[in-house]
């Protein structure tokens, strides 16, 4: 059994950059342990200053190898980097096989890099519920860049847009034509589309399709036009890598755009709005189930719906009136 430490003492150590405390606090937050809210209250005043970079895309496109290179680029700039990598939880056992770290080894001895793997734990949207808080903890730890890598995303796992300042969507050749690229969802959230494995057959065609799809969208003057950057993130020889510098420059350009146009303020607003909505949802659910606990009402309601005496909407209305707005 691990030794228990005082919460505020751990937060103080976190603020001094201590990785052990960061690790323990993330566990505490991820498992929604008793001190969760207190930890976040203490952490919050020390957050908000980091650049948050989101990386999403289907499984196997090379998100983690790209992340590994980008960590290196930010380290060259002297910035401390936090990395959150999310992989899916099993819908059957609840367990997970978290394998992103295996691609993130170039910096395994660098104290300026803190990497944490999270299992999605049934949360939809490509992240885990704890991701929001984990990023805050990494910010408070003193990381100037926080990279958030989603689990392998399909078409609709777009939650990373709510937390990232700059959002990369990674695709590879052969993933479909311009019709796929024009679809709503994940392709729309990209500030930068990375066409990885650009040394594969069909890369030119994919590049044309992606660029073609982007130019049929509507953009206002001065607005950021998503760019496509071709890369080769894995190669036997370092000289065969491609596009990593261009990608780094494009990220910096997007950051400059955000600051110059003050679009960063909108991104920050949206992030907090999303966070607040999630917390409301969680807490209200807790209050309601707590209210129902031991009354036998929960089973009664569920059975009444199964037996079609009631429907879910009227049950929710009834419960809200009873437990949330009593006396009205």
């Amino acid at each position: 059994m691990k030794k228990k430490l005082n919460t505020s003492e751990m937060v103080n150590r976190l603020l001094a950059g201590d990785r052990r405390s960061a690790a323990r606090l993330i566990t505490l937050v991820e498992n929604e342990m008793d001190d969760h809210h207190e930890v976040m209250s203490l952490v919050y005043p020390h957050t908000g200053q980091a650049m948050i970079l989101g990386i999403t895309g289907a499984g196997g496109t090379g998100k983690s190898t790209l992340t590994d290179h980008l960590i290196g680029k930010f380290r060259e700039q002297g910035k401390k980097v936090g990395v959150v990598v999310v992989d899916p939880s099993s819908p059957f056992s609840g367990g997970a096989f978290l394998g992103d770290r295996i691609r993130l080894q170039s910096h395994s001895q660098d104290d300026g890099v803190y990497i944490r793997s999270l299992a999605s734990r049934g949360y939809l949207g490509g992240l885990s519920r704890a991701t929001y808080d984990v990023i805050r903890i990494m910010e408070a730890m003193g990381n100037e860049v926080v990279i958030v890598e989603t689990l392998g995303a399909g078409q609709d796992e777009v939650d990373v847009i709510h937390i990232a300042h700059t959002c990369l969507v990674v695709v590879t050749p052969g993933m479909g034509d311009d019709i796929q690229a024009m679809k709503a969802g994940i392709m729309e959230i990209a500030d930068i589309i990375v066409l990885n494995k650009a040394d594969l057959d069909g890369a030119d065609r994919s590049l044309r399709h992606l660029q073609g799809a982007l130019t049929v969208g509507s953009f206002e003057e001065g607005e950021w036009m998503p760019r496509v950057v071709p890369t080769v993130s894995a190669a036997n020889k370092p000289e065969d890598l491609q596009g990593i510098d261009e990608l780094t420059v494009t990220i910096a350009e997007h950051q400059a755009y955000l600051r110059k146009t003050r679009a960063i303020e909108r991104v920050r607003y949206n992030r907090v709005e999303q966070e607040l909505g999630l917390i409301f949802k969680d807490e209200l659910q807790k209050i309601i189930f707590k209210g129902l606990k031991g009354t036998g009402k929960k089973r009664e309601y569920i059975e009444s719906i199964i037996e079609q005496r009631k429907d879910p909407y009227s049950v929710v209305e009834e419960v809200l009136n009873t437990y949330l707005l009593p006396g009205e």
Partner: protein, 133 residues
């Protein structure tokens, strides 16, 4: 929504041992038993294993051995854990090595050794019994 803390296990191989089938099999079994497995892969150094274990705040470190380096690397990993004040986690090892080495490995600081042929259930039960106490 009350969530139970999930057991986190780091599974890895140390040194120049390129056989990862066993480590992958055990990782899958632990996943199926509801644990979160961080798979660090092969060719690790004691320093990189312990650093990853600290960052991930794991409950268990699982080492997979095959190529006869178990008596060389075990003390190095145990030392690195002590050096980092990270010796309050479970350290288990599995793989192929002579049965007569097991007492030595345990003396060196491995909490429990599972040789090839161990029952899945015995590994899962051992971890659950010793982490959730």
């Amino acid at each position: 929504m009350v969530m139970k803390k999930r057991i986190k296990v780091l599974v890895t191989k140390v040194g120049l041992d390129g056989h990862d089938r066993g480590a992958k099999v055990v990782s899958s079994l632990l996943k199926e038993a509801g644990m979160e497995v961080i798979y660090l892969g092969m060719f690790q150094r004691p320093e990189s294993i312990v650093k990853a274990a600290i960052d991930e705040d794991v409950d268990v470190i699982g080492l997979s051995y095959l190529s006869g380096e178990h008596l060389i690397f075990t003390p190095k990993i145990v030392d690195e854990m002590k050096k980092n004040n990270f010796d309050d986690v479970l350290l288990i090892a599995g793989g192929t090595f002579p049965a007569e080495d097991i007492p030595t490995m345990e003396e060196m600081g491995i909490d429990k050794v599972f040789r090839a042929g161990s029952l899945t259930k015995s590994i899962v039960d051992y971890i659950k019994d010793h982490v959730e106490e």
